[in-house]
């Protein structure tokens, strides 16, 4: 796709592109190609010799019980965050979409958590759910032996909650925009035909906003996979044990903290494939291909 009327200049377009390309190549493509290159090599323990090992690193990573464990944690965490966020956000958006007084104010008051850094959200939730000093944490500790520092399930619950908060605000905005773009004529016709609120939602609103829903589904998965690093790093450090070590957190630990380069590179390549699939899905849904009208 290109404009019909354009300017003619041989050098200028390259100059305009230069800053973007320089940064992209040095900080994106060069490191990424290094990751791919290292993922098929192995260094001896003294770093003297490197040998080409085909897909051995991948085989090793994928048969490593610790990796499988972190894959399980990632799936539980991402599915929980995605479902929780979308259910709450959709409920709130449907409520705020009604012709009620103060709809604008509600929107503002539900939108601001989007501005919070995930790690800051983590600090705020620790302050509430700390087993010794947190206002809810104390009560839970007394009744259910709540302690997110010792109990893996509790830790997972807390990072799901802390991660979801900000994302609910984001999803709420998109659901609301989706609902408000449904033509009023269709809604009014259904109401004249005597459809109940539930039936209106289930047979008209929900199908019509399905492009938004699928789009948010992929956005939330990307968020849960990658952007929640701050929550985990600040709140649990991947623990207790490995209860909150996601794939992303494991790459960070192996590559940056423990410096296991070959294995970490293989993990990076696997993550690249996952992101590529998710981005591809996101752009497909964005074009509105999923639409049942």
């Amino acid at each position: 796709m290109q404009r019909r009327v354009i300017f003619n200049n041989r050098i200028l377009p390259y100059l305009l592109l230069l800053p973007q390309l320089v940064i992209t190549i040095i900080f994106f493509f060069w490191p990424a190609s290094q990751a791919i290159y290292q993922s098929v090599l192995r260094q001896d323990p003294f770093g003297l010799r490197t040998t080409f090992v085909y897909l051995d690193n991948f085989r090793e990573v994928l048969s490593d019980p610790l990796y499988i464990e972190s894959l399980r944690v990632t799936i539980v965490f991402s599915v929980a965050v995605t479902l929780f966020v979308m259910a709450v956000a959709l409920l709130l958006a449907v409520m705020a979409d009604r012709q009620i007084r103060g709809a604008q104010t509600y929107r503002t008051l539900l939108l601001w958590p989007y501005a919070l850094a995930p790690a800051v959200a983590a600090v705020l939730w620790v302050f509430i759910f700390h087993p010794a000093i947190g206002i809810f944490g104390k009560v839970l500790a007394a009744n259910f032996q709540w302690d997110y520092k010792l109990n893996g399930t509790h830790a997972l619950l807390l990072i799901i909650l802390a991660a979801s908060w900000k994302q609910i605000a984001h999803n709420f905005l998109f659901f609301l925009a989706g609902l408000q773009s449904v033509p009023t004529a269709i809604v009014e016709a259904a109401m004249i035909d005597g459809a109940s609120s539930w039936k209106l939602f289930r047979t008209i609103l929900f199908p019509l906003i399905s492009p938004t829903t699928f789009y948010l589904l992929t956005i939330n998965l990307v968020f849960a996979f990658f952007d929640t690093f701050g929550v985990i790093h600040a709140l649990t450090g991947g623990g207790p044990g490995r209860a909150t070590t996601t794939l992303m957190y494991k790459v960070y630990m192996d590559g940056y903290v423990n410096l296991n380069l070959g294995q970490s590179a293989a993990q990076s390549v696997i993550l690249m494939l996952i992101v590529s699939v998710l981005v591809w899905m996101q752009f497909r849904f964005m074009e509105g291909k999923v639409h049942y009208t």
């Binding site: 973007q20 790093h233 940056y256």
Partner: protein, 282 residues
């Protein structure tokens, strides 16, 4: 039939509960920042403001030194975060608007290849290439530098896509007219394309400021010197493993200072923010 005001009661109830639940963590942080560390450490913090608000904020901003924490002045962190957020937002906008202009208004060899290259960066977030990117940074001597903190985050596929999309909507007649009047590509960019794009620029700026302010993984990798730290990293380090008897009053005061700028930006520039959010993602 039930009057409308009453029929809407459950709706108002659900929305109000959500509003309160959303605000509660921040309310608690505000309260925590007005008490002393010992009261909080005993688990006896009331739900009403305490007497030490001014001391806590002054302490956090100037020394951040408490009974347990030997901190670093939070004002340094705030200044670092502000500089970083502004540099990333402005840098990203400049770089992506230039490249989008090149792709939209010129025809030249490898045009689509470059466009694809920029688009592909979406598939390579920093999270998937931590170790090799760190190596590049240290080879170039960019660890603990302001340039290292900001420049690598300035390449933006979303910004380029957004501006390209916008440039495609500028009518051909306008370009023809400008060319007949003798405007070259740079003149057209400066006098026509840029002013037309200003609402897009403003919306993108709001989104990118928040994006920059909230960065976590990148500053964690690139800065080891405390004087270079951002506020978000600084707070997490202050909290450490989250012992009961730490200086929660200082941590909470710093947390309030950390969340105030981006939250104010969202609330005060809500129209730009919503426009930007829906544009950059849709």
């Amino acid at each position: 039939m039930i009057p409308k005001a009453f029929r809407n009661l459950p709706v108002h109830l659900i929305l109000s509960i959500a509003v309160i639940l959303f605000a509660f963590p921040v309310y608690l942080a505000l309260i925590g920042s007005t008490w002393d560390a010992a009261t909080i450490g005993r688990g006896q913090m009331p739900l009403t403001p305490g007497p030490e608000m001014v001391e806590n904020y002054v302490n956090a901003l100037t020394t951040a030194r408490g009974g347990r924490i030997i901190g670093y002045p939070v004002q340094v962190f705030l200044w670092n975060s502000l500089r970083m957020a502004l540099a990333i937002a402005i840098g990203k906008i400049v770089i992506s608007i230039l490249s989008a202009y090149a792709i939209a208004f010129f025809r030249f060899p490898l045009r689509m290849f470059f466009f694809a290259l920029i688009f592909l960066t979406l598939m390579l977030p920093i999270e998937v290439r931590i170790a090799p990117t760190y190596k590049v940074m240290s080879d170039l001597g960019l660890i603990n530098t302001f340039a290292g903190l900001t420049v690598p985050l300035m390449a933006s596929a979303t910004g380029t896509l957004l501006f390209r999309q916008f440039f495609m909507t500028i009518p051909d007649e306008l370009v023809e007219a400008a060319k007949i009047d003798g405007a070259g590509p740079l003149r057209f960019f400066w006098s026509i394309a840029l002013p037309l794009a200003r609402t897009n620029i403003a919306a993108l700026f709001v989104i990118l400021f928040i994006y920059g302010w909230n960065q976590y993984l990148w500053p964690l990798l690139v800065t080891t010197d405390r004087s270079m730290e951002t506020i978000v990293i600084g707070i997490v380090k202050m909290m450490g493993t989250g012992e009961a008897h730490t200086d929660w009053n200082l941590i909470m005061a710093s947390t309030v200072l950390a969340l105030l700028p981006p939250v104010l930006v969202v609330i005060l520039m809500q129209q730009w923010f919503i426009k930007g959010l829906i544009q950059t993602e849709k």
